[in-house]
């Protein structure tokens, strides 16, 4: 069942589609290869099929006829989840209310009939790894959300699963805790080197954790790539909008420059029928007085977010977002000129 726990698992989906009994097509036929030891993030809005994909890998759903799931080279399509030896963490944690924290963590070992001494040793090890030793004999309704998430992770990892599957594990936590736990999970996954599939709708989480991200939309893969590729080279308008903020400027190419209503931008990305250029807020800045600028407009709003100011500029009908240093003092209605970093320009 578990040939070599030390060796990470490679997972492969082969034309896996999923149609529910209600007739709803949750997932279009999908091919997916997850390398051994890789952290793959499935990212997308709700209803995009990311959780269904995870449940297919886990064995909680069966693919429509024709779809196959492989763990390394072995086909496991017909194998139920209890035989697949995967660790699973749920959004609602799914901790057993009838057991203490320690009993929850030791449950998988109890099922595997590990001797009592071995169970205790492993449970203690997991408790100290997640830094929750004092909670060992608390009931699960006596601990906080962040602590529950740690218990859920410890429980999934205690049995040394061949892969770790996480379904929106941080969604029910508050922002600050989410950030702390995200860093912790990241360090943990790097250290363990375990094959991980992480489902989230939060692009910050996806960028921070993923070796590779699969952006999904309406049951299909919209784009696959590293966080940098996805952020800087989105394959579609959907991906561009879903990952961070993207400025879109309509216009046309005239003699090597992109002309638009509020100015012009340098373009060296080749000719072709380009009607729109895209760029990130961090590639636009407010030009100083006397400096050359590409675009002009008026300040529509400025949001101070602490480490910087996000400026909304009305540029001849187009709403552009620019990032400014925190200490800038812009007034609404003030005329501004913008400089765009040419390296950040994209055409789809």
């Amino acid at each position: 069942m578990n040939p070599d726990p030390a060796k990470p698992l490679a997972i492969r989906l082969q034309s896996c589609a999923k149609t529910f009994d209600t007739g709803v097509r949750a997932l279009e036929p999908m091919d997916l290869a997850i390398d051994a030891g890789e952290t793959l993030v499935l990212l997308g809005p709700s209803g995009c099929g990311k959780t269904t994909t995870l449940r297919l890998i886990a064995g909680l759903e069966r693919p429509d006829p024709g779809g196959k799931v492989f763990f390394d080279d072995r086909e496991v399509t017909r194998e139920s989840i209890e035989k697949r030896n995967v660790g699973m963490v749920f959004q609602s944690y799914a901790l057993f209310p009838n057991m203490t924290v320690a009993e929850n963590i030791g449950y998988g070992l109890r099922i595997r009939r590990v001797p009592a001494a071995g169970q205790r040793a492993r449970v203690s090890e997991m408790l100290s790894m997640m830094r929750i030793e004092p909670l060992a004999d608390r009931r699960v309704d006596q601990i906080s959300g962040g602590q529950r998430q740690r218990v859920a992770l410890a429980r999934a990892l205690a049995v040394q699963p061949r892969a770790l599957l996480l379904d929106e594990p941080l969604t029910s936590l508050d922002a600050q805790l989410r950030e702390t736990l995200r860093v912790e999970i990241n360090l943990l996954l790097r250290r363990l080197g375990i094959t991980t599939v992480y489902v989230t709708h939060d692009q910050t989480e996806a960028m921070a954790l993923g070796d590779r991200i699969i952006v999904m939309s309406h049951g299909r893969v919209a784009q696959t790539g590293t966080p940098r590729e996805i952020y800087h080279h989105p394959a579609s308008a959907f991906v561009a909008d879903f990952i961070g903020t993207m400025n879109r400027l309509p216009g046309e190419l005239v003699g090597g420059r992109f002309q638009c209503a509020c100015g012009s931008l340098p373009w060296s990305g080749g000719n072709g029928d380009i009607r729109e250029l895209l760029f990130r807020p961090e590639d636009v800045r407010i030009a100083d007085d006397g400096e050359d600028a590409d675009l002009s407009g008026t300040v529509a709003a400025a949001f101070f977010v602490g480490d910087r100011t996000r400026v909304l500029v009305d540029a001849a009908g187009s709403q552009l977002v620019a990032e400014s240093p925190a200490r800038c003092t812009l007034q609404v209605g003030q005329a501004v000129r913008l400089r765009v970093d040419a390296r950040g320009l994209l055409a789809l």
Binding site: M88, F96, L127
Partner: protein
């Protein structure tokens, strides 16, 4: 200050009045069972004569009632808990319909259910004259209470995800059912058991039609005693009923308190500061 004291006195008086309303008839009835002559009153002296008379005349009805209620509990547990589990797992229209149908015997007059049973099964003489005929009626009547109270507890927890969590750790169906499902609906099972035992023990109007002279239960015997014997004997009968049912109820109540935990790893340090 005076108003609040006045209000307190009023509330206390009201509470005591309600308690008296509930308890006084019970106490009077039990006292009547111990009075030498009810018409003369307590001045005639206290006696255990009536209790002994009931015990010698109706002992078998008491044991039959105990037996039937325990058997009824066993059957409703075996049928009701898996039914509640299946209903909780499939929240569709058929499940709702079954849930409603289960309540039907409760809503119908007991006499009607009893008549239906007699019409349907009365021809099987061996069955008709055995105590299991009464048991069937009691199970019909009490099953809904078991299913409902277990279902209420199961619906309040995310059963599906809990089971998926257990399955991901390698637990097969049987292990999940006994480790996760049953312990988590423990309170529902206890509450249901309490209802089933007390209802079966005190069930009269259905049993009145289902019983034969050889399968008289305690409430049927009680009616018999009130109708044909001295009032003191009937009251002594009530006294015995209370002596049986109250320890049972207290026991079940005590069981439903939360249990302490067992598993404590040896090197945990409860005083250590926990990280946020």
């Amino acid at each position: 200050m005076t108003t609040s004291r006045f209000l307190f006195t009023l509330q206390l008086a009201f509470t005591l009045a309600v308690c008296a309303f509930l308890v006084v008839p019970v106490v009077l009835s039990m006292l009547a069972g111990l009075t030498a002559n009810y018409l003369v009153g307590l001045s005639s002296g206290l006696t255990l004569r009536w209790v002994i008379e009931v015990w010698s005349g109706y002992r078998d009805t008491i044991f039959l009632s105990l037996g039937i209620s325990v058997a009824c509990l066993a059957v409703t547990l075996a049928l009701g808990v898996p039914t509640a589990y299946l209903l909780a797992r499939s929240r569709n229209r058929l499940a709702r319909l079954i849930e409603e149908l289960l309540v039907l015997p409760v809503a119908m007059p007991g006499l009607a259910t009893a008549l239906a049973l007699i019409v349907t099964y009365g021809v099987y003489r061996g069955f008709r004259t055995s105590w299991t005929f009464i048991l069937v009626g009691h199970v019909l009547f009490t099953l809904a209470f078991m299913v409902r109270s277990v279902l209420a507890v199961l619906s309040a927890i995310d059963l599906k995800t809990l089971e998926e969590g257990a399955a991901s750790l390698g637990a097969r169906f049987g292990q999940r059912f006994f480790h996760i499902v049953l312990p988590n609906c423990r309170n529902g099972i206890l509450a249901g058991s309490l209802m089933v035992v007390t209802l079966s023990m005190g069930e009269f109007n259905m049993t009145w039609l289902l019983h034969t002279p050889y399968t008289k239960t305690l409430p049927v015997g009680l009616a018999d005693a009130y109708a044909s014997l001295r009032l003191e004997i009937g009251s002594a009968y009530t006294l015995i009923f209370f002596l049986m049912i109250i320890p049972l109820l207290l026991g079940l109540q005590a069981l439903s308190r939360p249990r302490p935990s067992r598993f404590i790893p040896d090197d945990s340090d409860p005083t250590a500061e926990n990280r946020p």
